[in-house]
């Protein structure tokens, strides 16, 4: 999957540094000089554009008199008051909603994907192509496109007559199925050699144990990939928690931010505190699973 991206790197490292001039498309030179200075300046500019807004938001969240007109990179008067006020606004409850939805949704999605991918990649059966087509179709049916009927279904589950609205399940169950995760997982499982499996089968290993003790341990990198992309997908949900909620107390943190913003009694500091709280989990997941992330992005892209 990712072999294309790793080999050239290894080749390049072993080359003498004299050819470094031909290493990058623009021919950046590793030596000090105008070329290097220009590159450093551009890097600083780029850093300012992409990363400084985050520092400003974090500083504003810890600042006593934060207002949109006085944003600085370091809080002038450090305080935790915004987070305490956030607690009174029920922000912890929203965070809890978010974490339950993210945890449950991600766990469900990964489980579903592993099972489905195992069937689709390690076995051959009638109707397989059709199943794969349906899996890919789920990617084309995101919540936005089917939002209105989905909200009706959430209010009254066909055949079962249960209303999921107002429960966390209304968000967890729909994010459980995502063609992307199934697809990535099955692509990865396909590359495990058949001999391993045949040897295990001679030992009389059944399907369930085959999946969990033989195949899955070999798929750890892929689990990382679907973990991070699944988490981002769930954490990014906006329309789904909005239509799945009975009243604002069911909102997830990301949706609740707009409630805070429209509430004139809370200051911008509290809103910023909420934004920081909504950022931290995705930051942590990203930092822990970075390598998987790059692998996931590039595995799709370099295949074309």
């Amino acid at each position: 999957m990712t072999s294309q991206t790793s080999t050239p790197t290894a080749v390049r490292k072993s080359r003498p540094s004299a050819s470094a001039r031909f290493d990058s498309a623009l021919g950046w030179s590793p030596r000090f000089g105008t070329n290097m200075a220009l590159r450093m300046m551009l890097c600083v500019l780029v850093f300012c554009i992409f990363a400084l807004p985050f520092l400003a938001i974090i500083s504003g969240a810890f600042d006593r008199n934060s207002s949109p007109t006085e944003i600085s990179l370091l809080p002038k008067t450090f305080t935790l008051a915004n987070f305490e006020a956030a607690q009174q606004q029920g922000l912890w409850r929203y965070l809890l909603n978010s974490l339950v939805v993210a945890g449950g949704g991600l766990l469900l999605q990964m489980t579903v994907s592993v099972f489905a991918a195992y069937s689709l990649s390690r076995r051959k059966f009638r109707g397989q192509a059709l199943v794969m087509l349906l899996v890919l179709m789920t990617m084309m049916l995101p919540e936005e496109v089917i939002g209105i009927p989905l909200s009706l279904v959430l209010g009254d589950l066909p055949l079962l007559g249960i209303s999921l609205r107002g429960t966390v399940l209304a968000v967890i169950l729909p994010v459980g199925i995502w063609g992307f995760s199934i697809f990535i997982m099955s692509e990865f499982m396909k590359e495990i050699p058949a001999e391993i499996e045949e040897a295990a089968r001679l030992d009389g290993v059944g399907e369930f144990r085959m999946l969990f003790t033989i195949i899955l341990p070999l798929c750890k990198p892929a689990l990382g990939v679907i973990g991070i992309f699944g988490f981002m997908m769930v954490w990014d949900q906006y329309l789904l928690p909005l239509i799945a909620a009975n009243d604002p107390s069911d909102y997830t943190l990301t949706v609740a931010l707009s409630v805070l913003r429209n509430d004139t009694t809370v200051g911008p500091g509290v809103l910023l505190a909420g934004a920081v709280m909504a950022m931290i989990p995705s930051l942590l997941v990203y930092l822990f699973l970075q390598r998987s992330m790059i692998r996931g992005i590039t595995s799709g892209a370099t295949k074309g």
Binding site: D23, M140, T302
Partner: protein, 316 residues
């Protein structure tokens, strides 16, 4: 997100293909087959309930005048006609296309420039790439809130004070009917470019370095090097980036909804926000469903079109 779906034919199991199992076990015995289908049950149930039933239901509703307590009345394609003749929907379509094009091309160009700037092995570059990737990881709703604050429209708002320091007047940003759509586009480019950067960086590692070297010997300029070596090598990555972005921008909702909610005066209303307000706020479910089906059709066409294009390219 970044998937290029393979042909269904490729999904056939390599374990069973190639050398046929000597024991004559080609499709597995009945017990195994049962296990296979059981493993598919969770995906099937969830897919049915939360994807396919809603899709079918949406298509059905789009043909009805939906009235709570009065019963639905079949109206044929009337809802589609109302969508296509609704001036606000047509405005929304225009905004969707403008926003989609600007964001897609902007994020591609910026992502390309970022990739060229940050290409390399140095650890400092790696750290910088990590930092720049933050906007992609952050939820769109949060990104929207951040930019609402940066765009604060008074002369002493964060961006306006930067603008005034270089001698540009204060802008209304999200509050001005002329500037709101472009302001949203900038947010889209900001949060989309780093993603493209990673795809393009991956593409760049595949470029044959010896080509650069021989071009250098031949006295090619940096521009020629980009034009004749780098860009052709990146074509597959760029095609992927473009289609993914096009499909995504068709259904862009969160950032518009968070940043402006379609205002001011409908100047940023896109297909999705119009659909949302029709369906959920004005309860005009039939017409909103028709709009959704149209969106689905366009997405389908785009996806299938790209697939065919990609497949033809692969055969060449």
């Amino acid at each position: 997100m970044t998937v290029t779906p393979t042909k269904p034919a490729e999904t056939l199991n390599p374990a069973a293909g190639g050398k046929q199992a000597p024991s004559g076990r080609k499709r597995g015995n009945g017990k195994q087959l049962l296990a296979i289908w059981l493993f598919l049950v969770p995906a099937a149930v969830l897919g049915m309930y939360f994807k396919f039933i809603p899709m079918v239901e949406g298509i059905r509703l789009s043909l009805f005048k939906v009235q709570p307590f009065l019963g639905d009345v079949f109206v044929g394609f009337d809802n589609y006609v109302s969508v296509l003749t609704d001036a606000r929907f047509m405005d929304a379509l225009g905004h969707t296309v403008v926003l989609g094009l600007t964001q897609t091309l902007g994020a591609l160009v910026v992502g390309f420039v970022l990739a060229l700037l940050l290409e390399g092995q140095a650890r400092s570059l790696w750290v910088l790439r990590t930092a720049i990737f933050l906007p992609v990881v952050t939820a769109l709703a949060v990104v929207g809130e951040i930019w609402r604050i940066l765009y604060f429209p008074t002369p002493d708002g964060p961006l306006n004070s930067i603008l005034s320091s270089v001698g540009l007047g204060p802008l209304q940003f999200l509050n001005g009917t002329d500037t709101a759509l472009w302001s949203i586009a900038v947010v889209g480019i900001w949060s989309g470019a780093p993603y493209n950067m990673v795809i393009i960086l991956a593409g760049l590692t595949g470029v044959d370095r010896s080509l650069y070297e021989s071009a250098g010997v031949d006295g090619a300029t940096v521009w020629q090097r980009l034009r004749y070596i780098t860009l052709p090598a990146l074509r597959p990555s760029i095609v992927i980036v473009l289609t993914l972005a096009a499909i995504r921008s068709l259904r862009s909702f969160t950032e518009v909804y968070v940043l402006t909610g379609g205002g001011p005066a409908g100047s940023t209303e896109v297909w999705m926000t119009r659909m949302y307000s029709l369906g959920f706020q004005r309860n005009d479910i039939g017409v909103a469903s028709a709009a959704a089906v149209l969106l689905l059709l366009v997405t389908l066409l785009l996806t299938v079109g790209t697939q065919l294009l990609a497949r033809r390219k692969a055969q060449r």
